[in-house]
Amino acid sequence: MPSQASTVAPDVDALYYFIYWLSVIFFAIVVGATFFFVVKYRRRGEATTTSGVDHNLTLEIIWTAIPTILVMIIFVWGFKGFVRLYVVPAHAMQVNVTAQKWFWTFDYPEGVNAVNELIVPVDKPVKLLMSSKDVIHSFFVPNFRIKQDIVPNRYQIIWFEATQTGTFNLFCTQYCGKGHSEMVGKVIVKTQKEYQDWIDQASGPVAGETMADYGKKLYTSRACNTCHSIDGTPNTGPTFKGAYGRTETLADGTTIVVDENYIRESLLEPTKKVVSGFQPVMPTYQGILKQQQIDALIEFLKTVQ
């Protein structure tokens, strides 16, 4: 099991190891008996008649009753743990989660948002109010031992309380198509103070940072890199390398020069003018990117040549 980083993880692991060791014991009995019998009762010479014993009530009651009692213990323990995983503490802070092909967006009550990076304070219960824009996705953080499918057209809720700071993997675990295995994010657990600093700064570039550098950060933090490379290889979308100023042929056969307005339009209405040879699968960034962030991304694209 991966390291335990949430309040529920120790209980889940304890039950897991309880079943694990019970299984090891029973497995040893089954395999041990098999090999012992194979050796001890191996056929020597021609077969003869053997014992006709075909039942033994005491034995059968024992090997029915013991496993039944054990699995009932496991059931009750598992059910209690399950309820704990899903009952949200009353004072939890809320983050809205939007899943779509193939990235995560996190919206904070302060009006800040983040893509593929869920930043939370340590030792504070966090309630995730989750929805999907297209197909079913699933929110899974192995270190927290939590997972929840996100079904379109309804909210689904899960909660956790991180017990240590650090960076943890976030996976989509419900198959959602071509980019499923790249729908991977991070949960970054910060101290209460670091978290507050991040909220304060998250709305713009830090002091001394150029627009292009800020745009480069957005390129990964807003998950452009899931579909657009900067090394020239085509992915789900065209590469950003040399994109600015390039003349592209669109799906309808017309051509267009990639300039500031085309980039802006492609972010806000991505399926309107799709480059020939690519599927119109990009989601809109309307409402996710602020004007300043769009400016920064355009400046960044100019530098990728």
């Binding site: 991966p2 529920v8 889940v12 039950l15 897991y16 079943i19 299984s23 029973f26 497995f27 089954v30 395999v31 008996a33 098999t34 019998f37 194979v38 009762y41 191996r42 056929r43 077969a47 008649t49 053997t50 014992s51 006709g52 014993v53 039942h55 059968e60 090997w63 029915t64 496993p67 699995v71 496991i74 059931f75 323990w77 598992g78 059910f79 743990g81 399950f82 197909v135 079913i136 699933s138 192995p142 270190n143 939590i146 997972k147 929840q148 379109p152 057209n153 309804r154 689904q156 989509c172 675990t173 419900q174 198959y175 959602c176 198509g177 071509k178 980019g179 499923h180 295995s181 790249e182």
Partner: protein, 539 residues
């Protein structure tokens, strides 16, 4: 062992009448079963090749052979072919068809024409799936979850229609077997003198007849959704995607027992024959088959613990799931007790039976882990699940199928295979299987999600090990293919009863005549009366 050389019967179901058309129009259950076996083994080969490609692609996180789109189609096809074209029909339609009527001393199944119809439906269903592969294949996973399956641009309809037709093939076989077992048993064979393989096929047939129509309905709704946008599953039209999952698993969970119950039947036969001992707990094994069949209808929700169904529903499904575990455990204890004080002979079928005991136990224990609610939340949709169901499906059903093939190969063809090669192949398959799949338990507990084309660098060593295991398994299967085919042409004649077994199929010639028996057989003793009767092995 008998010293007298056996000869092949001059006239058998294999060589009389001759000609391709006499096979394609045959009503003989043995020929139909054999034609099933050819197709099923072809499907197994195709599905196995796809598995090797999938595993090879996963050797490193980067691109080995194919892109993500192709990979998604590969694992979908691997699953769909292995489930619908291979495992579900494998034991009942192929081995069951050939052996079951012989076992109960019947001339044929109750409805021979329906039996042939089933085979042709299987062919048509397979052709639809082939057509879908040619027209771009499908990338939904074998589970067809909505709304992905209603929105993807791939060939969902032709695949779903193929599976729909295969479902009818399965229903007809089930119906045929139920009537055959009720009406055509030899004089003297009461219900509790039936071989346990027959009991297992009977429980399976009930599942096939009752559960498969639900799959048919689900697939029709799915196709209607794509054709006409009726909006049952699509949330954009007010439908509920989780409803699809309920429908789907209402069939596909019992389907797991359509796959495993016949396997358990074969294991009961093999262990009794090669321990030369009366089976322990005959009634417990027979009733537990029916018990498993019944409870399997009530546990589908354990595939959906994190789908957003209510906590109460999840609790009830988890509770009931453990009651499938208990009868399975009882069977294992009964098989062990059968071996106790027996006279055990480690022939190839017994090697596979022991592989089954070990691998199916691991599949069962990990099933308990996954049935436990709080633990399942972490492990759901990870490689732990992938490994668990391969231990049950491949470690269970496929090992039993291989055991059954090695047990009845001499009956089907009248000739023995090379025992030494058989033992070597069994070891390769067993070791390769564990290297491939045991590593995946570690991947799963570490959080590696399933159906991932690429993955984080930290999982690479385990993925590489798993891929290497798949090569060991492939070597085992190629050796097996070689000596089994070689035996058909060059094997030593086996005689009617090479293993000294007591069930009725061993009282007629190998291969049997078209009429199965020269005169009406009588069940003079029970199928496992090794305490009273000794039959001399003929090979």
């Amino acid at each position: 062992m008998s010293e007298t050389a056996q000869t092949m019967p001059t006239r058998s179901y294999l060589n009389h009448p001759k000609g391709l058309w006499t096979w394609l129009s045959t009503l003989d259950h043995k020929r139909i079963g054999l034609m099933y076996l050819y197709l099923i083994m072809t499907a197994f080969f195709a599905g196995g090749m796809l598995a090797l490609l999938v595993r090879f692609e996963l050797l490193t996180p980067g691109r080995e052979l194919m892109g993500a789109d192709m990979y998604n189609k590969m694992f979908t096809l691997h699953g769909a072919i292995m489930i619908f074209l291979f495992i579900i029909p494998s034991i009942p339609a192929a081995l069951g068809n050939i052996i079951m009527p012989l076992m109960i001393g019947a001339r044929d199944v109750a409805f021979p024409k329906l039996n042939l119809t089933s085979w042709y439906l299987y062919v048509i269903g397979a052709l639809f799936m082939l057509f879908s592969i040619i027209t771009g294949a499908v990338d939904t996973g074998w589970t067809f979850y909505t709304p992905y399956s209603t929105s993807t641009s791939t060939a969902v309809i032709s695949t779903a229609f193929g599976v729909f037709i295969l479902g009818f093939s399965s229903i007809f076989t089930g119906l045929n077997f139920i009537v055959t077992i009720h009406k055509l048993r030899a004089p003297g064979m009461t219900w509790f003198k039936m071989p346990l393989f027959v009991w297992a096929l009977y429980a399976t047939a009930i599942l096939q007849v009752l559960a498969t129509p639900v799959l048919g309905i689900t697939l029709v709704l799915l196709m209607a959704e794509r054709f006409a946008g009726i909006g049952i599953f699509d949330p954009a039209m007010g439908g509920d995607p989780v409803l699809f999952q309920h429908f789907f698993w209402f069939y596909s969970h019992p389907a797991v027992y359509i796959m495993i119950l016949p396997g358990m039947g074969i294991i009961s036969e093999i262990i009794a024959i090669f321990s030369h001992k009366k089976i322990f707990g005959y009634r417990a094994i027979a009733y537990s088959s029916l018990g498993i069949a019944f409870v399997s209808f009530l546990v589908w929700g354990h595939h959906m613990f994190v789908s957003g169904q209510s906590e109460l529903a999840a609790g009830i499904f988890s509770f009931l799931t453990f009651f499938v575990g208990i009868p399975s455990g009882i069977k294992i204890f009964n098989w062990l007790a059968t071996m106790y004080k027996g006279q055990i002979l480690l022939k190839a079928p017994m090697l596979y039976a022991i592989s089954f005991l070990i691998l199916f136990s691991i599949g069962g224990f990990t099933g308990i882990v996954l049935g436990t609610l709080s633990v399942d939340v972490h492990l759901h949709d990870t490689y732990f699940v992938v490994s668990h169901f391969h231990y049950v499906m491949m470690g269970g059903t496929v090992m039993a199928l291989l055991g059954g093939l090695h047990l009845w190969w001499p009956k089907i063809w009248g000739r023995m295979y090379n025992e030494r090669l058989a033992a070597i192949a069994a070891v390769f398959v067993f070791v390769g299987f564990n290297v491939t799949f045991f590593t995946q338990f570690f991947l799963g507990t570490q959080g590696m999600p399933r159906r991932y084309y690429t993955y984080l660098e930290q999982y690479q060593p385990l993925h590489a090990m798993s891929t290497h295991g798949s090569w060991l398994m492939a070597i085992g299967f190629f050796i097996m293919g070689f000596y089994l085919i070689h035996a058909i042409f060059k094997g030593k004649p086996a005689g009617p009863n090479p293993w000294g077994a007591l069930t009725l199929e061993w009282t007629t010639a190998s291969p049997p005549p078209t009429e199965n028996f020269d005169k009406q057989p009588l069940a003079e003793h029970g199928p496992y009366d090794y305490d009273k009767v000794v039959a001399k092995p003929t090979a």
